[in-house]
């Protein structure tokens, strides 16, 4: 009736000896994310776009500054997408290769979003966690500072900065970096307030762990889920902001370009029938935004299963 005793013993010994690897909450979240088809689809598209932005330039026949003189003045008639002359996406109104320009513009747009988002994650998380954890007067001072910064009309100030210190991409990064962390700091502070009242934080305080280590080891890992989700959803917003600035003609300057600037240029050429000038940048713009949003939604569902 009973199973072979020696076999059972060797089994229990084997079980005892091996250290069991635990399933962390991150592993669980990854499994949940992988089950979400829309999110995985978004991730695939996103990886595709990233590869396009990073390595697309290896396949271009023209650089983004070179002018194809043959097309000059007749872009609307013969400048459409074609494989033969190397303009896969067609050419713009000056005869420059649109493929090379879209590759370059996508890279700039994503970089603006990602850099702004990284600033938001690093500065916003530490700032918000510090304010929330220490509370009291420090919290009041820190968060009122954020309130004041938030009340400044950001777009107006950014435009002024670009006008005063010159229209450069560095200035654009500085401007976007300055404001992107404000919302993050608020979100993180709110989360910290709930986490710091949990017993495991109290246990750490009672043990004598220093406040800085408590923030880094106990509080930040527990709010990272929300931070990651917010950061992913922040990227499209920043790309939009950059595109808006570029659309106004204040952002990235020629011969560099961004998706917003390309769309702006393309929108003028629609009248003359050069549809490709708006279609290709717009396609990459929308695809990037949708992909980031889907990935962000998927991350939220994966990291916060209770909130659904």
């Amino acid at each position: 009736m009973y199973p072979d005793k020696t076999k059972m013993e060797s089994l229990t010994q084997a079980v005892d000896a091996a250290e069991v690897r635990g399933r962390s909450l991150w592993t669980d979240a990854r499994v949940r994310f992988m089950r979400n088809k829309a999110a995985v689809g978004g991730l695939v598209v996103l990886i595709g776009i990233l590869l396009f932005a990073l390595f697309g330039s290896f396949f271009q026949a023209w650089t983004h500054e070179a002018i194809d003189w043959k097309l000059m003045g007749r872009v609307a008639q013969i400048g459409g997408p074609s494989i033969e002359n190397g303009h896969y996406f067609g050419a713009d109104e000056l005869g420059r290769d649109l493929y090379a320009r879209v590759v370059q513009g996508t890279g700039i747009s994503i970089m603006v979003g990602v850099v702004g988002s990284i600033v938001a994650v690093v500065v916003g998380t530490l700032y918000g966690a510090t304010a929330g954890f220490f509370g009291g007067r420090l919290d009041n001072i820190m968060m009122r500072t954020v309130d004041v910064l938030m009340s400044i009309p950001f777009m107006f100030v950014l435009i002024l900065m670009l006008v005063i210190w010159g229209r450069s991409i560095t200035m654009l990064f500085v401007g976007i970096g300055l404001i992107s962390w404000l919302d993050m700091a608020r979100i993180v502070r709110g989360q910290t307030l709930t986490i710091k009242n949990k017993e495991f934080v109290e246990a750490a305080i009672a043990v004598g762990v220093s406040p800085f280590r408590i923030i880094l080891r106990h509080i930040v890992p527990n709010l990272l889920g929300i931070v990651v989700v917010y950061a992913t959803l922040l990227i499209p917003g920043l790309i939009m902001a950059e595109s808006f600035i570029s659309f106004l003609g204040l952002g990235v300057q020629e011969p560099m370009t961004s998706l917003g600037a390309l769309i702006q240029a393309g929108s003028k050429q629609m009248l003359y029938g050069a549809w490709w000038q708006i279609a290709f940048p717009l396609f990459f713009f929308l695809a990037t935004l949708f992909a980031f949003t889907f990935v962000g939604d998927g991350l939220r569902d994966a990291l916060d299963p209770k909130d659904r």
Binding site: V15, V20, A206, G208, V209, P221, N222
Partner: protein
């Protein structure tokens, strides 16, 4: 009396400031007296039980001893030294010597850390130079000691049951080999069968490691089982304290009597036959406690004089038993089931 008590609380007070939202910063905040003049002694190797209903200040008392809540009056003497006058270095040493076990076993463990990291944290914090292999070895040894398989060291808290989580919490409290362990309702969140296991484990560890212990609970039968002495708290004050057996069998204070008579007896005949004293009404607000004896609003023996002065602790002659009621009388009650 003992010579020098291991831990001595002398008229300890903990007061919280309650600000009404929207009030001016300069308006004086209202005071909430969570712990209001508690004096207790604890001998080395002894287990002191503290009982009382919710909101009576038990947990605040524990937090004041461990130092996460500032005291507003009175003294905590730990091995004869005043906690408030300790140098930072001594305070760190004190943190090593006093550890705490929490009520909610899962909430007290960081969900993003493995069990090994959680148990090792006090060790790594106080002795950062300990070699990793030694840390791991000590964690494994301790896990075995509290009844966990050491190969579960890389698991995460959510993969354990409540009882196992509490064992992890106990292991964390014991890794520094403290002198005093404060258990804040360590079994209230557990099943009855698991409660027994955890309590027996605690008693065993207390005996083997020579720990002093403060055991807080609202379940009198649990406290009686584990404690040498018991203190009964009500609204931030000690109503009665004394030897565990004597206090549970011959309680003197009307509040203790009512508490004990509300412990159910697992025999329906006895349960029906015995007299019941039910405490009516709610716990009064600690922001505005009754004058004199705080229990008088719900006491069956209350008299006009109870509203006057705060009753003194009266020692029962010849016994380790003190009671804060001038009208105390022993009442032989049925044995509390343990």
């Amino acid at each position: 009396m003992m010579s020098a008590p291991f831990l001595s609380l002398q008229y300890l007070q903990v007061t919280f400031d309650i600000r009404r939202p929207g009030s001016w910063p300069w308006t004086p905040p209202r005071k909430l007296h969570a712990v209001n003049g508690v004096s207790l002694d604890l001998a080395a190797g002894e287990c002191l039980g503290i009982v009382g209903e919710s909101g009576s200040g038990k947990s605040t008392l524990a937090r004041a001893i461990i130092g996460t809540v500032p005291t507003s009056g009175g003294k905590i003497l730990f091995e004869g030294k005043d906690l408030a006058e300790m140098e930072p270095g001594e305070r760190r040493a004190h943190r090593r010597d006093v550890q705490m076990i929490f009520q909610d076993p899962l909430a007290a463990l960081n969900p993003r850390m493995t069990v090994g990291e959680i148990i090792a944290e006090p060790l790594v914090t106080h002795f950062p130079k300990t070699p990793r292999a030694e840390v791991k070895q000590r964690v494994a040894k301790l896990m075995e000691r509290v009844g966990l398989l050491p190969n579960l060291i890389n698991r995460y808290p959510h993969e354990f049951s409540g009882g196992q989580c509490q064992r992890i919490g106990i292991a964390r409290a014991l890794i520094l080999e403290p002198k005093l362990v404060i258990c804040d309702e360590p079994v209230s969140a557990l099943d009855v069968s698991v409660q027994a296991q955890v309590i027996n484990l605690l008693m065993e560890l207390q005996r083997d490691m020579g720990l002093s212990m403060i055991f807080i609970a609202h379940d009198l039968s649990v406290v009686k089982h584990i404690s040498d002495r018991i203190g009964v708290m009500y609204l931030g004050r000690i109503m009665e304290e004394g030897d565990a057996d004597r206090l549970t069998t011959r309680p003197e204070h009307p509040y203790t009597q009512a508490l004990i008579s509300s412990v159910p007896i697992p025999d329906p005949k006895l349960e029906k036959a015995r007299p019941r004293e039910v405490i009516v009404g709610e716990l009064p607000s600690p922001m505005n406690p009754p004058s004199g004896c705080v229990f008088r609003t719900r006491c069956r023996k209350a008299q006009a004089s109870c509203a006057g002065e705060r009753p003194k602790m009266i020692a029962i002659p010849g016994e380790d038993h003190k009671v804060a009621c001038p009208f105390h009388e022993a009442e032989a009650l049925l044995e509390v089931s343990a």
